[in-house]
């Protein structure tokens, strides 16, 4: 059974429009959307509902972590919804629906991140794989480029 789970809330020290831009502008996006120490080897975005994106994160050791997804909804500057999964042949790789909700908090922005899992197994696997810690690293990068 599907389940929508709030993954985390995180405050970014930048205004909402700037944070939305960082998610949707390819040049800005490449600067932060990866764990600390990683880089983006490749990123493509077709920014429209139904449009696809592809991201290759590169570890310090040179290993590539490819993901691929589809934009579901883009509502500037408040909401981005997409489905994504690993772009390789691993097993149990069903796409996860992710909602990114951006709320203005004074001159800062709260990012609320929700995932809708397709099964209890997928939820357990995702939540025990360090997904929250991973997102926190992404957002630390985002905070650094947004200030």
């Amino acid at each position: 059974m599907k389940e929508r789970v709030k993954i985390l809330d995180h405050i970014i020290e930048a205004e909402q429009a700037k944070v939305y831009h960082a998610w949707t502008d390819l040049k800005a996006f490449r600067q932060w959307f990866c764990p600390i120490g990683f880089s983006i080897a490749k990123a493509e975005m077709d920014l429209r509902p139904g449009g696809f994106f592809s991201i290759h994160m590169k570890s310090p050791e040179g290993e590539i972590y490819p993901t691929r997804g589809e934009y579901i909804s883009l509502e500037s500057p408040t909401r981005i919804v997409y489905k994504d999964s690993w772009d390789d042949d691993r097993a149990d790789n069903e796409p996860i629906l992710t909602e990114v909700v951006l709320s203005a908090v004074g001159k800062h922005t709260r990012i609320s991140l929700y995932s809708t899992f397709n099964s209890e197994e997928q939820k357990e696997k995702s939540l025990t794989s360090g997904v929250v810690a991973g997102w926190k690293m992404f957002f630390e990068n985002l905070n650094n480029i947004s200030k």
């Binding site: 059974m1 599907k2 389940e3 929508r4 429209r48 509902p49 139904g50 579901i72 909804s73 919804v81 489905k83 629906l97 909602e99 809708t116």
Partner: protein, 156 residues
């Protein structure tokens, strides 16, 4: 734009605006306090009952989008919880608007081919029919809410 995204937009628009009629639930409920929302005109349903009823079917289909069975009952679809204060009334509205946001996200994420599948028993028809049914239903009852509100405002 994919069809599920278009349908999701239509659902959101009747609640928060951007639709062709330029009448939406959020703007219509502006200035409607809990006393007006619960007051009856003749034998009509109150505004609060209509808001609850509009959203009842969103709640039913939302559960289906989370893979639960389709379970709805017209007989209880007007059974709005008691509203005895502005806090109660605001809480109902908050739940309704949050739920429709969640609903629209899941509708937009549906694979297009699923729109043509049956949503449950064949008598209910396809996802497409039910999602459009919800939009039609919301516009129908929104019109009633507008009329009841105007009646109270003229009565002042």
């Amino acid at each position: 734009m994919p069809l599920p995204s278009l349908i999701a937009d239509h659902i959101k628009q009747v609640y928060v605006g951007g639709n062709w009629t330029a009448v939406n639930l959020r703007d219509t409920l502006e200035g409607v306090g809990w006393e007006m929302a619960t007051k009856k005109v003749a034998s009509f349903h109150s505004i609060a009952e209509l808001v609850y009823h509009m959203n009842y079917f969103v709640t039913v289909v939302l559960k289906v989008l989370y893979d639960e069975p389709l379970k709805g009952d017209d007989a209880v679809s007007f059974d709005c919880p008691p509203i005895n204060s502005q806090t109660d009334w605001k809480a109902l509205q908050k739940r309704v608007f949050e739920e429709v946001e969640e609903f629209a996200v899941l509708v937009a994420a549906l694979p297009e081919e699923q729109l043509w599948e049956l949503i449950g028993d064949s008598k209910y028809g396809t996802y497409y029919r039910n999602l459009h049914g919800i939009i039609e239903h919301c516009h129908y009852h929104l019109g009633q809410i507008v009329l009841i509100k105007n009646y109270f405002l003229q009565d002042r």
